[in-house]
């Protein structure tokens, strides 16, 4: 007995409503995961099924838990930087950025122009490759075995090559520092990036044509896993999932952190909040990322890449606290730091978008077929390194 007796849910407007059983058979309890291939890692969903219909779903976390926050409290501020790469390992550069931003807020550290531009360029490349792969995974789960995913990975590999050239690693980049970036980008690197970005538009069109007109994709995704705007905001859902439900909230626009208010880009919004909208929002955001990249690569100024007065090693911020957040590809990634004046943070907290976006998983899955659970789960776009930390 995995789930125990199915109890009536407590009343409250923001809790999922119970789905009525048909009453002609017994419920089947299935543990999907922790090694189910669709869970993108080790994650379990305990599902109660009435025939094919989902009656109850309970996510089970913690298989990849290593208490990242405790580790962060036991070491210096800088020593946590490489660890942030391991949170959402698809997007290490945005993790670096969020952490650097929080520490910069805590210490009042300024960042030079060129470093800000490099951060935007790397952040948007990260967003592009994350969205492309996440769409690839989604189609993989629909049965389009391999092909779209490999197309996405081909482009991702071009971007990862750029990361490797600049930072020394494809994924475990450890690139940003408090007050700038670790190394400067050469003119040659910027030229190669321009060349890669020039090819991304064509790939996006091709990718969209391949998928958007596909009848199977339409049937499998449209109207599946709906999420209302009201619940999405209340449940703290962020990122493409929130915007697919039609809520105009992009932290790049709202906070304008870094230098995002200098760029001209739009925030795509969906109006059904279903799996198809989430897929389309990611596709449209890829286009906006290209727009930002083109502007940033045109305007990037010279100058130092790290503030000459900045100290990375052995910083001891004055006692106080700071919460810094960015629009990571998966949603709002925040770092909350409390300093007691020592060399280690007193409290080091990561606000993981992947975990909080899963709050509404049960709401989206109730009443739908078990085959759609895989798709709805895929459309949330999570990485377990960040969910479990």
């Amino acid at each position: 007995m995995i789930l125990g007796k199915i109890k009536k849910r407590p009343k409250g407007w923001n809790r999922p409503q119970a789905v009525a059983e048909s009453g002609d058979g017994e419920l089947l309890e299935v543990a999907m995961g922790p090694h189910h291939p669709s869970t993108h890692g080790v994650f379990r969903m305990d599902v109660a099924l009435d025939g094919e219909r989902v009656i109850k779903l309970r996510p089970v976390f913690g298989y990849l838990h290593r208490n990242h926050e405790k580790i962060g409290e036991g070491q210096s501020y800088l020593a946590s930087m490489p660890f942030t790469d391991r949170l959402d390992y698809m997007c290490p550069l945005t993790n670096n950025w969020a952490y650097a931003l929080a520490v910069e807020k805590l210490t009042g550290q300024a960042v030079p122009e060129r470093a800000e531009y490099l951060r935007v360029i790397l952040g948007e490349l990260t967003r592009y490759q994350n969205h492309a792969s996440s769409i690839g995974f989604l189609t993989q789960e629909m049965g389009a075995s391999g092909t779209p995913l490999m197309y996405a990975f081909r482009e991702r590999e071009k971007i990862l090559d750029l990361f490797e050239e600049l930072t020394g690693a494809r994924m475990m980049v450890n690139y940003m520092r408090f007050g700038g970036c670790r190394v400067d980008a050469s003119e040659g690197w910027l030229d190669r990036t321009r060349k890669v970005v020039a090819g991304l538009g064509r790939f996006t069109d091709e990718f969209e044509r391949l998928l958007r007109s596909n009848a199977i994709l339409m049937v499998r995704t449209q109207g599946v896993g709906r999420l209302s705007a009201e619940l999405a905001v209340n449940a703290g859902v962020t990122g493409p999932m929130l915007r697919a439900s039609g809520v105009n909230y992009d932290i790049r626009k709202v906070d304008g952190y870094g230098i995002y208010n200098r760029f001209n880009f739009r925030v795509p919004l969906g109006d059904h909040g279903d799996v198809y909208d989430r897929f389309m929002i990611r596709l449209l955001e890829m286009r906006e990322s290209i727009k930002i990249l083109e502007q940033a690569l045109k305007d990037i100024p010279g100058g130092p890449v790290v503030d000459p007065k900045a100290k990375s090693r052995g910083i001891r911020p004055k006692s106080g606290e700071a919460y810094g957040r960015i629009e990571a590809p998966k949603g709002e990634l925040g770092f909350y730091l409390i300093s007691d004046g020592g060399a280690n943070p007193y409290r080091y907290r990561i606000r993981p978008p992947s975990l909080i976006n899963l709050t509404v998983l049960e709401d989206m899955c109730l009443g739908s077929d078990v085959a759609d659970v895989v798709l709805i789960f895929g459309s949330v776009d999570i990485v377990l390194g960040e969910v479990d930390r």
Binding site: R9, P10, G12, N14, R15, F61, G62, H65, N67, E69, K70, K105, L106, T107, G108, L231, V233, N234, A235, G236, T238, V247, Y249, V254, P317, K318, S319, G320, E321, A322, Y323, R325, E332, G334, Y336, I338, S339, Y346, R347, R349, R351, L355, I356, L358, T359, V360, D388, R389
Partner: protein, 191 residues
């Protein structure tokens, strides 16, 4: 966006008897916060969400802090509608041992559901009124709260019984051989 002082007076005007205290933040981030008394925290939180001017409809981050004398829950609130924030509210428990209850804000912001479960799991704050307060990351039978500063992991944490005594004996013999030999030092060869 109102300052913390203005928010404090707005709360006190709307909810008579609500105890609100401003916690100043000396760091350059300038993110000051409001400490709520646990008794009135639920009503205050509801007011913050529903007030027409504040409309803090989005709870971004909820987390715990272990202080020497008490446990604290910290919530970062933003407004999606008005696009402002953060407003930071915090609540303290009476002590760290037996009076660790705080009111759950999950009925107001669903976003707190997993985050409060995580705080319960890692810090041991018990949220009264939480619809489903179970451990989130550690397993069911786990006893302690690992994020507390005084947590010490048991030394048999990864202990696994070895199936055969003879394996242990061989390992022991190997160890004593290693101790006598010169290649134990893994440092670079000097000669």
């Amino acid at each position: 966006m109102k300052t913390v002082e203005e928010i404090k007076s707005a709360i006190e005007a709307a909810i008579p008897g609500a105890a609100v205290e401003i916690v100043l933040n000396p760091s350059p981030s300038g993110q000051h916060s409001l400490r709520l008394a646990p008794e009135s925290a639920y009503a205050v939180a509801k007011f913050l969400r529903d007030d027409a001017e504040l409309k803090l409809d989005f709870l971004s981050n909820a987390t715990g802090v272990d202080w020497p004398d008490s446990l604290e829950a910290v919530y970062h609130l933003y407004s999606v509608e008005k696009k402002h924030g953060p407003v930071i509210i915090r609540m303290k428990t009476v002590n760290r041992t037996d009076q660790v209850e705080l009111p759950s804000l999950t009925p107001i912001w669903r976003s707190a559901e997993f985050q409060e479960r995580e705080i319960f799991d890692l810090f041991g704050i018990v949220f009264t009124g939480h619809p489903d307060l179970r451990r989130l990351l550690m397993w069911k039978n786990f006893k302690d709260h690992p994020m507390r500063k005084d947590y010490r992991e048991p030394d048999d944490f990864e202990w696994e019984p070895t199936a055969h005594d003879e394996v242990l004996k061989r390992a022991e013999a190997q160890r004593s051989r290693d101790q006598g030999s010169e290649i134990r030092d893994q440092g670079p060869a000097t000669a």
